[in-house]
């Protein structure tokens, strides 16, 4: 069977094409002048530039973290371009008709038509291409409900008070090496604001595409849900197939005020590199949300891409009775490496958190779950339940679990369950004996393993996620 599994590596990456689009791209390198130029390109106010420069100066003092269970050559931050945008975007197209058709075609090829009438009903999309947002759909419809959904670069101009108040409020500029880098050079991303008591009438989603060579993508997403509001948000990501590694260092901040709920889902399919580990995206991302009283934040992620992943979507359960959830499927194959998990920081009374993590390793990949559950001294009656399951396909991959539990409150309850299993020869044989080919069998077994997480995804995307796993496993058995 391991011989069959070896072929896992030969899968194709459907999103690996490159779009011929004339871009304005900064020369490689990073110094203060580059940050000033980014800020100037975006026509930012002085306070934003200052914010960036503070982040940059903090970053200069910091060191790249090395504690994760991943190995890769050091990133040369001077060999990256920090800004790239299609030239056609310079004139800021007012409507879809003015957007370069090649850009629209790119998204169409990825299965994300941007014409509203062709889209999945009930989903609004912000499309980010390299360093800029190309288009945001359904804005008017959302505005009627009082919902703001726009590129963050635009929000800096239009809603400076909100940005000043919330940017960096959950993930401070100095939080960590990559967050500081992002703070200095972030180029675009989405801003979402749901006013008090409003249930966002549509699914919101941002689709990130890296196109240009040697560029990094540094996007920043900020979602603020005021008292008693609700929003479901989804992000998707892809990149062309290239021999060089590319860096993606994003920051996502969620603010859930009292009684608010944010559901944040990710379907991540960055180019994972080839079977020998050549190329692929370094996905070094900081995602964190803060929950006020009775609020709830739910992270759901399906991760199949990237050559190296370093990512821990977290919840700070500040308010009493607030709830944090983390549902994750991380699939690694080839030479992919993932070190991913979550942090649940229980500060308030009766806070609750649930962690369901499903790691699938195939080929020669390494898949690590790293999770922290912290019960603060005030967190009376707080509870956490963690279930951490690993599935191994073949005999050359690795699964690792690094749970950290810190409890400073004797009334807090923490439960941790972990299992490791293999797609066994017997399971495969049973399926094949019933007429299913080996590939179908493996994808079925893996889908079954992930079921608990898939059911947390918005309906429209649960199917997509299942398909993505299927494609990812294509050729995983011969």
């Amino acid at each position: 069977m391991s011989e069959q599994i070896d072929q896992a590596l030969s899968r194709k990456y459907d999103a690996g094409f490159y779009s011929e689009i004339e871009s304005e791209t900064f020369e490689n390198g990073l110094d203060e002048s580059v940050i000033r130029r980014i800020s100037e390109m975006k026509g930012e106010p002085e306070w934003m530039l200052e914010w960036r420069l503070k982040a940059y100066n903090a970053w200069l003092q910091m060191e790249e973290p090395e504690w994760a269970h991943v190995e890769y050559p050091k990133v040369d931050f001077q060999a990256i371009s920090y800004y790239s945008a299609p030239k056609s975007m310079k004139d800021k197209p007012k409507s879809l008709d003015e957007v370069d058709p090649e850009l629209l075609r790119t998204y169409e090829k990825l299965g994300i038509p941007l014409h509203e009438q062709e889209m999945l009903a009930g989903v609004a999309v912000d499309a980010v291409f390299d360093s800029v947002s190309v288009v945001t759909t359904f804005r008017e419809k959302l505005e009627e409900a009082g919902v703001i959904f726009c590129p963050i670069s635009e929000a800096v101009h239009k809603y400076p008070e909100l940005i000043k108040k919330y940017l960096g409020s959950v993930v401070p500029r100095t939080d960590n090496f990559y967050a500081a880098l992002n703070g200095a050079v972030f180029t675009d991303g989405s801003f979402v604001f749901i006013p008090k008591g409003v249930r966002c009438p549509m699914e919101l989603s941002t689709y990130f595409r890296i196109n240009e060579q040697n560029t990094g993508q540094f996007e920043r997403t900020l979602i603020v849900a005021e008292e008693g509001s609700y929003v479901s948000y989804l992000e998707g990501c892809t990149a062309p197939q290239r021999d060089e590694n590319q860096l993606h260092a994003a920051v996502v901040e969620l603010v859930a005020m009292d009684d608010a709920q944010i559901k944040y889902s990710t379907v991540q399919n960055w180019y994972p590199g080839d079977e020998d580990g050549k190329g692929g995206i370094y996905n070094f991302v900081t995602k964190r949300g803060i929950c006020h009283t009775n609020a709830k934040i739910s992270w759901t992620q399906v991760e199949t891409g990237s050559s190296v992943t370093w990512k821990y979507p977290s919840c700070v359960l500040k308010g009493d009775n607030s709830v944090g959830e983390f549902y994750s499927v991380a699939l690694t194959r080839g030479r992919q490496q993932a070190d991913t998990g979550t942090k649940m920081i229980h500060l308030g009374k009766n806070t609750r958190s649930t962690i369901i993590s499903k790691g699938i390793s195939a080929g020669k990949s390494n898949n690590a779950y790293r999770g922290l559950v912290q019960m603060g001294p005030r967190a009376d009656g707080a509870r956490n339940f963690t279930e951490c399951d690993s599935l191994l396909i073949g005999d050359q991959c690795g699964a690792h679990t690094f749970p950290y539990i810190e409890s400073r409150n004797p009334t807090a309850i923490v439960e941790h369950e972990a299992t490791t299993s293999k797609v066994s020869d017997e399971q495969l044989f049973l399926c094949q004996q019933r007429g299913l080919d080996a590939e179908k069998a493996v994808s079925m077994i893996v889908n079954g393993f992930c079921k608990e997480v898939f059911k947390e995804l918005p309906m429209e995307f649960a199917v997509e996620a299942g398909k993505l796993l299927e494609i990812s496993l294509e050729g995983s058995v011969g």
Binding site: F429, L430, C431, Q433, G435, L436, M444, N447
Partner: protein, 253 residues
């Protein structure tokens, strides 16, 4: 319909089947009995093409096709069904979706349209009733948390749905009480017709009280050493495998 000639097969370089000949006509039920370690289960695995079961000599034809040339799933699609002695669990995959994929794989092979969810559900419900499994078994994960008897009945349900031409039952009676045995046997008997053939592998004669075989073969040391009608099974029941010689005398009958 099935023709096995001079079959030699090994597992982990140990030869288990050593020159087996067997011919099965359409609609016939053949029981294969024998002492422990005779190669009874191995035969089922070899015929279904399981990885690690190497054929070193001989031929097997199913409906005129060279079976040994086909992959596991191709053999299954040609109509070969193996009811497992210990079916494995597939957590999270519902019986329903598993069987639907499976049935449609068979239909595709026969050039038929795939069943819709509703059409399949109707058939599945009937099959479920036939083996006396509650309907919620369709929603449960494949064999997940099933008792031994439920797993066996589930295998028979699959057999009913897949309509194979050759069914190999590998000790489908082991670990069953009399009532469960009756259910399994009824399920099998309901599927007997003049086209479908069965190989019933069993250690005990008991099952053959319920599923009447046309032929009984005694397998010992990788070969069929004796063949007869149903009365041969009764003889084994009475006298054990003593007739095979000293080597098997202690072996329980």
């Amino acid at each position: 319909m099935l023709k096995i000639s001079n079959l030699h097969a090994s597992v982990e370089e140990k030869t288990i089947i050593k020159g087996l000949d067997l011919e099965i006509g359409p609609g016939e039920v053949h029981a294969i009995m024998g002492p422990n370690g005779a190669g009874k289960s191995t035969l089922g695995y070899v015929l279904s093409g399981r990885d690690g079961y190497e054929v070193s000599d001989g031929t097997v034809e199913l409906n005129g096709k060279d079976l040994l040339d086909l992959d596991v799933e191709e053999r299954a699609r040609e109509g070969l069904f193996l009811a497992f002695q210990y079916p494995v669990e597939i957590p999270g995959v519902s019986n329903m979706e598993f069987m639907k994929e499976s049935v449609n794989a068979m239909r595709e092979q026969r050039g038929e349209e795939p069943l819709t969810a509703a059409e399949f559900l109707k058939k599945a419900k009937e099959a479920c009733k036939q083996v006396q499994l509650p309907l919620d078994f369709l929603k449960r994960g494949v064999n997940e948390g099933f008792s031994g008897g439920e797993k066996k009945r589930n295998e028979i349900m699959q057999m009913i749905l897949l309509e194979p031409s050759l069914c190999i039952l590998d000790e489908s009676d082991s670990g069953l009480d009399v009532d469960a045995l009756q259910v399994v046997a009824d399920g099998v008997n309901s599927q007997r017709n003049d086209k479908r053939s069965f190989i019933v592998v069993t250690h005990y004669q008991r099952l053959l009280d319920y599923i009447k075989p046309d032929f009984v073969h005694i397998l010992a040391d990788g070969k069929i050493v004796k063949s007869g009608d149903a009365s041969l099974a009764l003889e084994v029941e009475k006298n054990g495998y003593a007739f095979l010689g000293k080597k098997y005398e202690e072996s329980e009958a």
